[in-house]
C-alpha cells in the first residue's frame, strides 16, 4: 500500500495525516458564507478525530450547501446527488458498505422542501451518518426565494412577504424518530466542532441543523437566520464537550451539579455543561416543548437538543455479515450448481 506522506515539517495527527490532507478544493461559495465556516470545522474535526479519509463518504443534494462537500476531505469518496434525494442514495451506499461513515451536507430547501419525505424516512430507518443542514431560510442559487424554513411574515427584496409558518428541522427530526438532534450557529465554530464530533460517534442518523446566514440574500437583521440575529438571540442549552472513546481515561472530574455526561453507543462521552437549569436532552417531550417555545419567542436554542441511542441503525437491524456487502466474492453470493438443481426438481 502506498503510504500517505504529509508535507515535511507539518504537524500530523495520530494516523500521520496533516490538517491539509483533510482539505478539499477551494470554495466557490460567496465570501463570508456560513457554509465555508462549517466546511472548515469539518476539516478540523476529521483531523482531530484521526478520521481515515477512505472510510468517510461525503454526500449532498443540490444547492449552495450541497456544493460544500467538494471543499473538505478531498481524499474521501463523495457523491453530489439530486435535489432532495440524497438520503436514499446515502441509505443504499451505507448498506452496501456499512463499514463506511458519512457526512452529508444539505440545505433548508434540499431538506425541508423538495426533500422532506426522504429526510424523514432516512431518520425513521436510522441510517448511520451525520446529516448537516446548512439552514439559511432562502434559496441562494436561484437568487433569493423563501425556503420552507423562512420565518412567517419575513420580507425579502425578491420574494416579498412570507405568509407561511416555518418548518422546524429539529422538531421534524425528533418526530421522525431521530436519536441525535442538535442545533447550532455557523458563527459558533467551537460548538459546531464539538457537536460534529459527537454526531460522528452516534449510532444512527445524527442531525445538525446549523443556522448558516446567507450573506447575499438573507442577512437582513430582521431574519432569524441572519448573522446578527443569530449572535443576539442564540440561547445555548449547555456548553458542549466531546471526548472520543480512545481518550476515555482522561475524562476530567466533573461536578454533577454543573455537568452532565452522556455516554454514547461507541463508548465516547458527551459532556454537557449546564447553562439552563434542568434541560434534559433525553426527554423527548421536553425537547419538543423547548423547541416550540423557542420558535414562538423567535429565539433559537443551540446545543444537543435531543439524544437517544436505543434504536439500532439500519445496518444493525439488517443483520448482515460483518464484511461489507460490496466486498463479498462470488463464492459468498452465488449459490452452487447443486442448489439450482435441487430448486429445479422441486418445481417439476
Amino acid at each position: 500500500m502506498t503510504e500517505m506522506t504529509p508535507a515535511r515539517g507539518a504537524r500530523v495527527n495520530a494516523i500521520g495525516l496533516a490538517q491539509a490532507d483533510y482539505k478539499g478544493l477551494p470554495s466557490t461559495l460567496c465570501q463570508g458564507c456560513g457554509h465555508n465556516s462549517i466546511a472548515n470545522q469539518i476539516v478540523q474535526v476529521a483531523y482531530e478525530l484521526n478520521v481515515r479519509p477512505h472510510e468517510m463518504l461525503k454526500l449532498s443534494g443540490i444547492g449552495c450547501s450541497s456544493k460544500s462537500p467538494a471543499y473538505f476531505l478531498g481524499q474521501s469518496f463523495g457523491f453530489n446527488t439530486l435535489h432532495g434525494r440524497m438520503p436514499s442514495l446515502a441509505t443504499g451506499a451505507l448498506i452496501a458498505n456499512h463499514a463506511m461513515r458519512a457526512i452529508a451536507v444539505s440545505g433548508d430547501g434540499d431538506t425541508a422542501s423538495i426533500g422532506l419525505g426522504q429526510f424523514k424516512h432516512l431518520l425513521r430507518r436510522n441510517v448511520r451518518m451525520v446529516y448537516v443542514v446548512e439552514n439559511n431560510g432562502v434559496y441562494g442559487l436561484t437568487k433569493g426565494q423563501f425556503s420552507a424554513t423562512a420565518d412567517e411574515g419575513q420580507e425579502l427584496k425578491y420574494a416579498g412577504t412570507n405568509d407561511f409558518p416555518p418548518i422546524d428541522i429539529c422538531m421534524e427530526a425528533i418526530l421522525a424518530g431521530c436519536g441525535f438532534v442538535a442545533r447550532s450557529f455557523s458563527g459558533d465554530a467551537a460548538q459546531v466542532r464539538e457537536l460534529m464530533k459527537a454526531a460522528l460517534s452516534h449510532r444512527g442518523t445524527a442531525v445538525l441543523d446549523i443556522i448558516s446566514p446567507c450573506v447575499a440574500f438573507n442577512n437582513d437583521d430582521s431574519s432569524t437566520k441572519s448573522y446578527s440575529y443569530g449572535k443576539e438571540h442564540e440561547i445555548p442549552l449547555h456548553g458542549i464537550g466531546f471526548v472520543p472513546k480512545e481518550a476515555e481515561i482522561e475524562v476530567e472530574a466533573y461536578d454533577p451539579g454543573e455537568m452532565r455526561v452522556v455516554e454514547m453507543h461507541d463508548g465516547s462521552l458527551i459532556k454537557l455543561r449546564k447553562l439552563e437549569t434542568d434541560y434534559d436532552p433525553t426527554d423527548r417531550l421536553g425537547a419538543m416543548h423547548r423547541l416550540q417555545w423557542a420558535q414562538a419567542q423567535r429565539e433559537f436554542i443551540t446545543g444537543l437538543v435531543y439524544y437517544d441511542d436505543s434504536r439500532p441503525s439500519l445496518a444493525e437491524a439488517s443483520r448482515m455479515v460483518d464484511a461489507p456487502l460490496a466486498s463479498l466474492g462470488e463464492g459468498q453470493v452465488r449459490p452452487g450448481r447443486e442448489v439450482l438443481a435441487e430448486l429445479m426438481s422441486g418445481l417439476m
Partner: protein, 632 residues
C-alpha cells in the same frame, strides 16, 4: 392490409372427442380463494404431461370484482392465449350473462344450480351443480364457504374432462406444501363433487354428453412450472444480488416477494442469522432507485422491481445513474398505462420511455425476456451488463410473463463467473493512476474505484453535474462534448454485449416479423397457421436494446417487416425507424392495444394502420403482397 388469411372458424365442426386441445375459463369473484382451485387444475394437467398455460385475468381490487382464469391445453404445445374458451366455469353470478355469451357453439358451462336467470342457449351444454348443498354438507361457515365452492367446480370438472383425482391430490399437496390435513379437507369436497357429477352427469351420452377430454401425454416430462417474476428473482439470486430496494406495485411485487423468499433460504446463515444481502422497502420508487444507485456506487449488486408508474418516478435517478455511470438493475413488469391505467393488465408500453428515460440526451440498455428461462438468465446477466457498462440496465418483462404460470425446461446454471467490470484496487491505482472518466480502452467504458479503496488517489466525487475526465466539476464546452460523445460510444459498445436477437429465416419468405417478450408464443402459433395457408414468414425476436447489425440485416433481407407489440403507438417500431432510417419503408407497426395477451388469431387477422412513410415513399402496400392469400 395485414398478414391476413381468412380466419379459421372459432369452433370447427367437431366429430368425436376433442382431446387436449381446448381452453377452460373459470369466472369467479376476486378474493374468494379461487386461485388455489385454478392452480390445482393447471398443475394436475401439467403433471398429466399435457402442455398448458394459465392466465389470470384479474381486477385491481382486493375482493368482489370479477376475475377470470384461463387455462389453455394444447397437445401441439402452443401457450399463447386462445381467443375463445370452450369450457366455462361460470361461478360468478355478477358476470354470468356476459360469460355465457362468450362461449362458442358446442361449448360447455358449469354453473350453480341455485342461481336463477342462468341464460339459456341451446347451442351449449349447461351443467347446474348443487354447490350450496355441498357447502351445507361440509359444515363450513363464513369465508370458507366461498372457498369450498371453488373445490366443487374442481371436482365436477375432474369428472367431466377426465382429470384423475390422484393428479389433483398431488397438485393440492404441491400447492399446500405437503400439509396433508389441508389437502385432505379440500380433497373431500373435490371428491364429493366428482362423485355427484359421475352419478348425475353422463359425459358420453344423453343431454350432458360433450366432446372435451383430457388424456395423459408425456410432453411435459422434465419441465418446471413457475411464474416469470419468481424466475427473475431466482436469476438475481444466482447473479449475486446483494441489495434490493423497492416500493410495492402491481404487477412487480411478486418479484421482491420471491426474492425475499429465496434470499432468506439461500443467503442467510442458519446458525448466525447473518445475511449476505439486504432488502429495503422504500417510501416510494424514487427512493428505491436512489438506494440502489447508492449501493451500486458503493459496489453492491443492486436491483429494484417496479412497473410503469414507478418508472415515471425513477426518471430523475436513472438520468443521474446514466450520467454519473453507476450500475443499477431495474425490472419493469409492464402493465397498461398511461397513468394508473389498467394496473392488472399486460402491456409492452414502457419501451420508448425506458429507452430514453432521463432528460437531456439519455439512452438506456434494455433486456427483453420472453420466457421463464430468459427471466432467470437476465436475472443474473443484467448485473453483469450493468457492472460491465456502468449504467442502469432495464429488464422489461410484463404482467403476463411475470404473474402467470409457464412451463420451461429447467434453468441452466450460469456458464460464466460474475463479471464485475473495470474496478481498480488500491494496487491498480498505485500502478497506473486513476481518472474516473478517462476512456483508456477506447470503448467508452472507463475505470472506477469503490468507496473504501484506501489509496489516497482512489477517491472521486460522483456527480450529476458536468465533469472532466477526473470527475471534477467542469463547465468547459469541450469537456461536456467529449464526455457526452464518449457516453454515446459506450452505448455502441453495449450493442455487442447485450443478448443478440433470435433469428429464424424461412426460405422464400418475403415477410418478416419482429417482436419481443410475451408475444412470442402467439406469434409462433400464428406463423404456423400462416405457413399452412401458404404464407411463410421469417421471425426475429429481439432480446435487447440497443439493436445490433443482425437486426438491420434481417430487415434488409425481407420486403416487408411487421413489428408486433402490445402498445398503441408501435414503440419498438418507432425505435427501429430511427435506428434504421434507410430501411424505414419496410417496417409496419402491428400494435395490439386492449390489455389482453396477444392471440395467434389477432396476428393472423391483424390489419396494421396504413403506413404514412410507406405511402409517401411509394412502396408497395403490404396488402398487395398478402391479400391474395386472404382471397380478396
Amino acid at each position: 392490409m395485414g398478414i391476413g388469411i381468412a380466419p379459421a372458424p372459432a369452433t370447427p365442426a367437431r366429430e368425436g372427442l376433442i382431446i387436449n386441445d381446448f381452453a377452460i375459463v373459470v369466472a369467479t369473484a376476486n378474493g374468494t380463494g379461487s386461485q388455489t382451485a385454478n392452480l390445482a387444475i393447471l398443475r394436475a394437467l401439467f403433471k398429466m404431461g399435457i402442455p398448458v398455460n394459465g392466465k389470470n385475468i384479474f381486477p385491481s381490487n382486493i375482493q368482489g370484482l370479477p376475475t377470470w382464469y384461463h387455462i389453455r391445453l394444447s397437445a401441439d404445445g402452443y401457450t399463447g392465449r386462445r381467443h375463445t374458451s370452450e369450457v366455462l366455469v361460470a361461478f360468478n353470478q355478477a358476470t354470468l350473462v356476459q360469460d355465457v355469451q362468450t362461449l362458442p357453439a358446442g361449448g360447455i358451462c358449469l354453473t350453480n344450480a341455485d342461481w336463477r336467470s342462468v341464460p339459456q342457449r341451446d347451442d351449449i351444454t349447461t351443467y347446474a351443480i348443487p354447490v350450496n348443498e355441498f357447502i351445507r354438507d361440509s359444515g363450513m361457515k363464513g369465508k370458507l364457504k366461498d372457498y369450498l365452492a371453488n373445490m366443487v367446480y374442481v371436482g365436477a370438472l375432474a369428472h367431466l374432462l377426465d382429470i384423475p383425482l390422484e393428479r389433483l391430490d398431488e397438485a393440492l399437496s404441491f400447492l399446500f406444501k405437503g400439509k396433508r390435513r389441508t389437502v385432505d379437507s379440500n380433497m373431500a369436497v373435490v371428491r364429493a363433487a366428482y362423485e355427484w357429477a359421475a352419478a348425475n352427469l353422463s359425459r358420453d351420452a344423453g343431454p350432458s354428453a360433450h366432446p372435451y377430454r383430457v388424456a395423459p401425454m408425456d410432453a411435459t416430462d422434465g419441465l418446471i412450472m413457475m411464474t416469470g417474476n419468481e424466475a427473475a428473482a431466482l436469476g438475481a439470486v444466482f447473479g449475486g444480488v446483494t441489495f434490493a430496494a423497492w416500493y410495492p406495485i402491481t404487477p412487480s411485487t411478486s418479484v421482491i416477494d420471491a426474492l425475499n423468499g429465496y434470499l432468506e433460504q439461500l443467503r442467510r446463515d442458519p446458525q448466525t442469522g447473518e445475511a449476505t444481502y439486504a432488502v429495503v422497502q422504500a417510501e416510494d420508487e424514487l427512493a428505491a432507485i436512489g438506494m440502489i444507485v447508492g449501493a451500486g456506487f458503493a459496489g453492491a449488486r443492486a436491483m429494484t422491481a417496479t412497473s410503469g408508474p414507478g418508472i415515471s418516478l425513477m426518471a430523475e435517478y436513472v438520468g443521474l445513474a446514466y450520467f454519473a455511470e453507476v450500475p443499477a438493475v431495474i425490472w419493469d413488469i409492464q402493465r397498461v398505462g398511461p397513468s394508473t391505467g389498467l394496473p392488472t393488465r399486460t402491456s409492452q408500453g414502457d419501451v420508448l420511455f425506458t429507452y430514453y428515460l432521463g432528460h437531456g440526451d439519455t439512452k438506456n440498455v434494455i433486456l427483453l425476456p420472453a420466457s421463464l428461462a430468459e427471466c432467470f438468465e437476465y436475472g443474473y446477466r443484467a448485473f453483469d451488463l450493468a457492472d460491465t457498462l456502468q449504467t442502469p440496465v432495464f429488464v422489461l418483462s410484463d404482467l403476463d410473463l411475470g404473474m402467470n404460470n409457464w412451463m420451461s425446461p429447467p434453468f441452466d446454471y450460469p456458464a460464466e463467473p460474475l463479471r464485475r467490470g473495470k474496478v481498480l484496487t488500491a494496487e491498480d491505482v498505485a500502478e497506473r493512476g486513476f481518472a474516473r472518466y478517462k476512456d483508456i480502452d477506447g470503448d467508452g467504458i472507463t475505470y472506477r474505484t469503490l468507496p473504501g479503496n484506501p489509496h489516497p488517489r482512489a477517491a472521486y466525487f460522483g456527480r450529476g453535474t458536468g465533469h472532466n475526465d477526473a470527475a471534477v466539476y467542469s463547465e468547459r464546452p469541450e469537456d461536456w462534448e467529449s464526455n457526452m460523445l464518449r457516453l454515446a460510444r459506450k452505448f455502441d459498445t453495449a450493442r455487442g454485449l447485450v443478448p443478440g436477437p433470435v433469428v429464424e429465416d424461412v426460405a422464400g419468405a418475403e415477410v418478416g416479423i419482429i417482436a419481443y417478450g410475451t408475444t412470442e408464443p402467439a406469434i409462433r402459433e400464428a406463423r404456423d397457421r400462416l405457413a399452412a395457408a401458404g404464407i411463410p414468414t421469417s421471425f426475429l425476436r429481439l432480446r435487447a436494446l440497443p439493436i445490433n447489425d443482425e437486426v438491420a440485416a434481417f430487415v434488409a433481407r425481407h420486403e416487408r417487416i411487421y413489428v408486433v407489440e402490445l402498445n398503441r403507438d408501435g414503440q419498438l417500431h418507432t425505435i427501429l425507424l430511427s435506428e434504421l432510417p434507410a430501411l424505414a419503408t419496410r417496417l409496419v407497426a402491428l400494435a395490439h392495444l386492449d390489455g389482453m395477451p396477444l392471440t395467434a388469431r389477432w396476428v393472423v387477422e391483424a390489419r396494421g394502420p396504413p403506413h404514412p412513410l410507406a405511402q409517401r415513399a411509394g412502396a408497395p402496400s403490404p396488402a398487395g403482397t398478402l391479400s391474395r392469400a386472404r382471397g380478396r
